[in-house]
Amino acid sequence: MTESQWRRVTAAGGARAIIRASPKGGKHLQAPAYELLSMGLRYWFVLLAVFLLWRAYRLMRKDRRDYRRTLRQLPDAGLVGEVVDLRENRGIPLPREGMMGSSRSCDVRVPGLKRREMEFTFRPGRGVRLIPVHRRHGASLDGEALRAGDAFALHGTVLEIRDQSFRFRLFAGLDLPERVPPPPPPLPQAEFPGEAWGSDLLPDIPPPLPPAETGADPMERTWQYAPLPELAQEWPEEAEPAHPFRRRRRAREEERDDG
């Protein structure tokens, strides 16, 4: 008998020795053998559980690293613009929604304000909705007292809270409709021909806005045509963004903001 044959026979004999017929007619592992196996496998189970946790920890770390890298590549992800503190002349990133105040938990943190001063939510096509936390907020928007419920800040809007002033700069305003140039005011009636053409008689009319450049990036157009607050109320709320990605995104943002 060769060595390999001998090993096979011994193994079969060993297996027969530990597997016995059970009283029900089937087979079962003998109690001491099972106990030995089960007690040995206790360490194996703990090892596998620790291994699973280690893998989970590694995956969490890797995922966090990837997420940070993505955020570095997309510094504007989740932001709709910035709030410029006019006193200190510094810009603070403005997320889609959050809280403004001096507390550490605030999304827009400005020392000097109350701990929780104002809640804000970006509404595509309408601007940043501002909701004061306190009744006596003393805030004004472009010089007018801020009314809770319908206060929307647009690109260029100045928000004053007591002695502090902020200007909103929105780059997510690409979803806002393009500004329609206002019709030029009528020229004053000239008493005699040629008088109206004199430069000294012309009223102080602001220069008309240049026409929109076709094919330009919508974001650029938004910066170029910073909408004026009083005109925004008359604009159509629905404006279709040019790019399908932006259209889809805007639809989702609107749906999300509503609910």
Partner: protein, 413 residues
């Protein structure tokens, strides 16, 4: 991150879990040489592996949470099969339905904007469902929380948990505090009528946390804490079984043959397990009353040991941390609140039941999420994870779109 890398990560994560389950079931199969155990040894690890690796290919879900939750569910099937094969198989069927519920809830969050008008209907339906046990319920272990319908017995308060999270997130995100508090208060009143104090504690805690997360108001949080303390004192005075449970918690050995029997047996089983456990199939946790539902953690402790018990707690901790991470990455208030609510609810439930098992806090009759026996509980817990997965899905979609927009912007420039 490419799809292939993600799949590799899933495989690496799922492999130890699958090997664990295969080893466990094979060990049980060697004990009795029963064909069904061999079939379970083949099927359960396979389903676990497919649900952890293949499912994220069809639904964009968080791989880590999916894998850890699947592992806990499959561990529950293993533990139950070892104690009672019939219940183990029943739990495996519940696990399948739970996976279906999870996918449905993921879709619900993904397309929430299309069904958000249903919030009042969901709230009304939830209150009606919650009222069912008050009138038609059957009493088990002092609580009248079960309803039998067409031969199927279920616990409405478990299903309403999903509705509670959705309704509270939706209302609080829109600053509608009063309707949210009224809905939650209604649910709590109905739970008190059912004498289901453990679930009432969870509902109260989760409402308080979500209100705090939505408003950041320390005053409301303090008022809620005072209310909870007042409720605990009132409950202690009103309900005799609460007084008994507090007495057992303080010293179970005073009446170790009657009211303290369950907790004493649990403590003995855990002490018997020691650091490494007695070994799978060699434990004696079966003597603990309600071991398959309330004391499943003691059974795991008994057979797998303290170290394994700590690993199980760590798995729950990972799920909680990941859930909070998903909430923080979310761009909208609704999704943030929903993700936070889901993770806190599961964490709170785990703390309440494990704390009760190890005599850290008085015992309350809630299940250990994903592991305990119970169809409604398992389907509800997996559905809650589906909500969390839905938020993760929306976050991933946001990032992808940001990348696409950035790419298009660069090309345009």
């Amino acid at each position: 991150m490419t799809a292939d890398t993600g799949r590799d990560d899933s495989r690496r994560l799922a492999l130890p879990g699958a090997v664990f389950l295969l080893s466990g079931f094979l060990l049980l199969a060697l004990k009795d040489f029963y064909w069904l155990t061999f079939a379970m040894a083949a099927l359960v690890p396979l389903v676990f592996y497919l649900a952890s690796v293949a499912l994220p290919r069809f639904i964009r879900a968080d791989r880590l949470i999916l894998c850890l939750v699947n592992f806990l569910c499959a561990l529950g099937v293993l533990a139950l099969y070892r104690m009672n094969p019939e219940r183990g198989i029943s739990q495996a069927v519940n696990y399948f339905f739970g996976l279906v519920g999870m996918v449905l809830c993921l879709m619900l969050v993904r397309y929430w904007h299309r069904v958000k008008w249903m919030v009042p209907l969901i709230a009304l339906g939830a209150l009606l469902l919650m009222a069912l046990p008050v009138f038609f319920g059957t009493e088990r272990n002092g609580a009248k929380a079960w309803v039998s319908l067409l031969g199927v017995s279920f616990q409405p308060s478990e299903i309403v948990k999903v509705a509670l999270l959705l309704v509270l997130s939706s209302l609080l995100a829109r600053r509608r505090m009063m309707p949210a508090l009224l809905f939650s208060g209604g649910c709590l009143a109905l739970l008190m009528l059912q004498k289901d104090l453990g679930t009432a504690l969870l509902y109260y805690g989760i409402t308080l946390l979500m209100v705090f997360a939505a408003t950041s108001s320390v005053v409301l949080l303090a008022l809620g804490a005072v209310g909870a303390a007042a409720g605990a004192v009132a409950g202690y005075g009103m309900f005799s079984h609460v007084r008994r449970r507090v007495a057992i918690w303080r010293n179970p050995w005073l009446d170790y043959q009657d009211s303290g029997y369950q907790i004493v047996q649990s403590l003995v089983a855990m002490a018997n397990g020691g650091l490494w456990g007695t070994g799978l199939g060699l434990g004696n946790a079966g003597v603990i009353p309600e071991v398959e539902t309330d004391f499943i953690f003691s059974a795991l402790f008994n057979e797998f040991g303290v170290l394994f018990g700590i690993c199980v707690i760590a798995v729950y901790l990972f799920i909680f941390l990941r859930g909070v991470g998903i909430a923080l990455r979310s761009h909208s208030k609704f999704h943030t609140l929903l993700a936070l609510g889901c993770s806190c609810l599961v964490a709170m439930q785990t703390f309440v039941i494990i704390g009760g098992n190890i005599k850290l806090i008085p015992l309350t009759g809630v299940t250990l999420p994903f592991i305990s026996y119970g169809g409604t509980s398992l389907v509800s817990s997996l559905s809650i994870m589906g909500l969390l997965q839905g938020v993760a899905n929306v976050n991933q979609q946001d990032i992808l779109e940001d990348q696409l927009i950035a790419m298009v912007g660069e090309e345009g420039a």
